[in-house]
Symmetry: C2
Subunit: 133 residues, 2 copies
Amino acid sequence: MSRYGLTTPRKIILEIVSDSHDHPTAADVIDRLKTRGHSVAYATVYNSLRYLTEQGMIRELKLEGDASRYDARTEDHQHIVCTECGRVDEVMTKTPQDWLDRIADDSGYSITEEQMLFKGVCPSCRASSPSKR
Amino acid sequence: MSRYGLTTPRKIILEIVSDSHDHPTAADVIDRLKTRGHSVAYATVYNSLRYLTEQGMIRELKLEGDASRYDARTEDHQHIVCTECGRVDEVMTKTPQDWLDRIADDSGYSITEEQMLFKGVCPSCRASSPSKR
DNA sequence: TTTCTTGCAAAACATTTGCAAATCG
DNA sequence: CGATTTGCAAATGTTTTGCAAGAAA
């Protein structure tokens, strides 16, 4: 269990994730720590990210690719990734409840969580490559 | 490019994925190859899985956890994973088009693909642990 | 002083790569 | 022959772990 709460490294890492609006990976966080002049061990970064996730202060996203990304927006929302530039945006559009109910019915599962990843071409990339509209 | 099509290892690996209804990982495929008395190199398994995916003969699933899983059902469908036993089932319930349209509108993206992972408790686990209903 | 946290290096795990040997067309 | 595919081992990238040292309650 955790008894010491928001220790110094955890606080700094939370700040970094909160200040970043691009859903940074653990490696990104390590880079930004260095940029800010901090020296934190790999293990501590991962431990801190796990701690913050367990506390519900940030969310861990397992999108495409190998590395988990982290998101300081904890409200219920989904993500969309641009297949051209890799940028990740939030999707706040609410998931239709009747559809979820239908899936629960069809599958026999009781659904506790849904995780959606949309892929597409973001507005900027659509503007710069008209063929991708 | 690939000129030799469905070579022997690729054919055997396709068979294994087609015969398995539990969405095996690459490691599972390697195990099942051994069980069948075949000796195929790691790299060849991964190469073959990539080839089969590119050909559209199987689908690669990036669900929870580190390892990709592979699915011989190529029709459009989603997946649901049991948080108790880890079992993965198919979700054939169609995604509401008007909802996707709304997301495209809200985000400004043109959506080309959606990948959903539902989590919940499967029928068997619900039966055996009534608290999880 | 007991327990949790940090730091460092090494380990673990999935996947990819380099290169020589085998194979297909 | 010329190109691709295979096999093996080593490399890569991400995350975890073991353990000693440090810090908090």
